[in-house]
């Protein structure tokens, strides 16, 4: 595929790696913010190819991993209502709630549909006027416009049976929270290319300046990631702290203004709980009251008591880059992809799952 395959060239990758090795003179810790980048690092075996002096730290950029336990529980509760069709992206289905995950709810008979797009959910709502169709709208800034658009479509079609259960998280406040942590030892960031596609880069300049960290907006193919690492390393070695755009073929400085408009039409900013991390101010979206009819939280008023996270799970520290998964006492023992104790063990983007697969741990 054009604009993808070219960025997987092994020869050029080798040259990037050589250049990184040549450039590095001291140890650096670089956080790739986005789970998609983690996935690329793992799938392509990049971590082991990097010089030992470059340590990649896997950030909180996996919406699946940071969706609060309580929202998962609510989604499960709704899905089990006889009258509700719950629609979701596929990767949410294995995320553990306090008692079960959505796959298990499905096994109990819940009508749960895996969709490629929230716009499909609107179509399902049209086709089933006698059912309540709820889309489990998780995601970062990248997905927020599409989820907003589904509400706009449903509103235009005057559907009374469509709503979204949101758990939207925003990247810049999370980066700030990570840096603010006392124990933080991150020298530079690969920012999430697709988030910036929507929001642009403007939010990163003050961050970079204030905290004196290089931030490189980076894509997802191996050459993208390698170039992004090289750009961070070059800044670090040169003692610079700027925002650079590795992913300029996709990301414009200003982002996508139309998409931003849609976000602001439907959503407003709020404090948000990040699973494993806790509340981060102004780090999430909720549906504006004007569109309250499309807000599953308002519509169904589900009260589900907050359940405690598994106390052994140190996913918060892992997502802040303070610990590596194998430093978790449960890693590979009680916690495995078949039985995840925390969300980072769920998707192949989660740091724990990535390490689990990468390290080749095998179940008896």
């Amino acid at each position: 595929m054009k604009y993808m395959s070219e960025y997987r060239d092994p020869e050029l990758a080798k040259k990037y790696l050589e250049e990184i090795k040549k450039t590095v003179t001291q140890p650096w810790s670089i956080m790739e913010v986005c789970g998609g980048q983690t996935h690329s690092l793992v799938k392509n075996g990049i971590i082991e190819m990097l010089p030992k002096t470059v340590t990649m730290i896997h950030g909180p950029g996996c919406p699946v991993c940071v969706t609060p336990l309580n929202i998962i529980d609510k989604a499960i509760h709704l899905a089990l209502e006889e009258n509700v069709i719950l629609c979701s992206f596929g990767d949410m289905l294995r995320v553990p709630g306090s008692k079960k995950n959505l796959l298990e709810a499905k096994a109990e008979g819940a009508d749960i549909r895996i969709l490629y797009s929230p716009l499909e959910a609107v179509r399902i709502a049209e086709d089933h006027p006698d059912k309540e169709v709820v889309f489990f709208a998780v995601g970062f800034e990248t997905t927020a416009p599409a989820n907003a658009l589904s509400v706009i479509h449903a509103h235009r079609k005057e559907l009374k049976n469509y709503s979204i259960l949101t758990s939207h998280v925003l990247v810049p406040p999370a980066i700030k929270a990570v840096i603010d942590d006392e124990e933080s030892k991150i020298d530079g960031f690969l920012a999430a290319g697709h988030v910036c596609t929507i929001m642009g880069n403007s939010e990163y300049h003050p961050l970079s300046k204030t905290y004196e960290v290089p931030i490189v907006v980076t894509g997802f193919e191996p050459l993208d990631v390698l170039q992004g690492i090289l750009m961070v390393v070059r800044q670090l070695e040169a003692n610079k702290a700027e925002v650079e755009n590795q992913y300029a073929r996709i990301v414009k400085e200003e982002g996508n203004p139309e998409a931003q408009k849609m976000i602001h039409q439907i959503f407003e900013i709020k404090n948000q709980i990040w699973r494993g991390i806790g509340e981060i101010p102004d780090s999430g979206y909720q549906v504006r009251p004007e569109y309250g009819d499309f807000d599953a939280k308002r519509k169904f008023q589900i009260e589900i008591p907050e359940a405690p996270e598994n106390p052994d799970c140190i996913s918060g520290q892992i997502m802040k880059g303070l610990k590596k998964p194998f430093e978790c006492s449960q890693f590979g023992k009680k916690c495995k992809p078949t039985n995840p104790l925390g969300a980072p063990m769920v998707s192949s983007e989660g740091a724990c799952a990535a390490y689990y697969h990468f390290s080749g741990l095998v179940e008896a």
């Binding site: 595929m1 993808m4 997987r8 060239d9 092994p10 990758a13 080798k14 789970g35 998609g36 996935h39 793992v42 799938k43 392509n44 075996g45 990049i46 082991e48 190819m49 996996c62 919406p63 699946v64 629609c87 992206f89 596929g90 990767d91 289905l93 294995r94 796959l103 549909r113 895996i114 969709l115 490629y116 499909e120 399902i124 995601g139 997905t143 191996p222 050459l223 495995k336 992809p337 078949t338 998707s347 192949s348 983007e349 697969h357 990468f358 390290s359 080749g360 741990l361 095998v362």
Partner: protein, 345 residues
């Protein structure tokens, strides 16, 4: 492969519980001519079982087939069910001979759909040179099945030169995949509600027995293991094999033959093709000494045009499958906890 047989005239359009009750309707269905397409002297006896003779060692295999939708690009559940068991027998080094055929039909299935499935079964049997000799038809209430499930079991005589067993695998053995991977799974995905896309991707369902038989003619004992990477894809079969032989497997992503559209569809949905199901594909572990000849022979076969050597058995990293990535990095290939789900992340 589908013959244009006209469907017998029936006074019912859908299959109902009565057709599975054992009474008049069951007999009506059996006598309707619908099953005549499968006719052969052994089946026509219509006793509680079939009676025949097989010489020498034999293989026996079973599989139940459930696929949604039952009609998909490149085939339907009928040929899938025949090819699946034919191929499992071939993987044992057997020449498939006789099949049993058992339907679990959800009431409401259109007879015309059932007919189309039967025609596909007939075609697949003819292709493979096997006969359905015994069968069963059950009907379940609406909502207690999914249109139709098919079980086929089969028996065949072990090829005189075959000695297929994971125990024969040794370090240095070459691993050959017979064609493009992930086609079946992505053909199904392309018609799954909520995920569908337009493509020319077809399921690779096909019978492999003739291909295997001629390879056994030529390479006999040098073929150490044959296995078809269906559910779980090639990754799962390779990992299972590595675990069972207590040896490692080295492979490289660039060696994996895959159709462009299939690869694109995997990118679209965030799926890894090494975990996607195949139906007309096999993996052979062969002695390194014959690997190139084997590949050459396979390239000449209609089912092996895209065959490739994808890996080597190694004493290093026992039980582990290590894949070199597109850019030359290394990645451990493990099994997935369950079915691969489309990702947004």
């Amino acid at each position: 492969m589908q013959l244009q047989c006209p469907m017998p005239k029936l006074d019912f359009d859908v299959i109902t519980l009565g057709h599975g009750s054992g009474g008049v309707l069951t007999n009506k269905l059996l006598d309707s001519g619908v099953f005549d397409v499968l006719s052969n002297p052994i089946l026509d006896e219509r006793h509680d079982g079939a009676i025949f003779q097989l010489e020498g060692k034999m293989a026996f295999s079973t599989d139940s087939f459930l696929v949604s939708p039952i009609f998909f690009p490149g085939g339907n559940i009928g040929e899938l069910a025949v090819n699946g068991t034919v191929n499992d027998l071939a993987m044992c080094g057997a020449i498939p001979k006789y099949l049993s055929l058992s339907f679990i039909i959800e009431e409401g299935l259109k007879v015309s759909e059932f007919w189309e499935i039967l025609i596909a079964i007939k075609g697949a049997c003819e292709e493979a040179g096997v006969h359905v000799v015994t069968g069963d038809t059950k009907v379940v209430e609406k909502g207690k099945g999914d249109k139709i499930f098919i079980n086929t079991s089969g028996v065949g005589s072990i090829h005189s030169k075959a000695n297929i067993s994971a125990k024969n695998i040794k370090a240095g053995d070459k691993i050959i995949v017979s064609g493009n991977i992930a086609s079946h799974g992505m053909a199904i995905m392309s018609v799954r509600e909520g995920l569908e896309f337009d493509s020319e991707i077809l399921s690779d369902t096909i019978n492999l027995n003739h291909t295997i038989s001629s390879l056994l003619d030529s390479f006999g004992e040098h073929i150490h293991l044959l296995t078809d990477p269906t559910r779980g894809g090639i990754a799962t079969v390779l990992k299972e094999t590595a675990q069972s032989i207590n040896l490692g497997i080295d492979m490289a992503q660039r060696d994996l033959p895959i159709d462009n559209q299939v690869a694109s569809a995997c990118e679209l949905l965030g799926l890894d093709p090494i975990y996607v199901a195949n139906e007309g594909l096999f993996i052979a572990f062969v002695d390194a000494s014959i690997a190139d000849d084997f590949l050459e022979a396979l390239h000449k076969d209609e089912n092996g045009a895209n065959a490739k050597i994808i890996g080597t058995v190694t004493e290093e990293h026992p039980k582990q499958v290590i894949m070199e990535s597109a850019i030359g990095g290394k990645r451990v290939v493990s099994m997935l906890p369950g079915e691969q789900l489309p990702r947004i992340c």
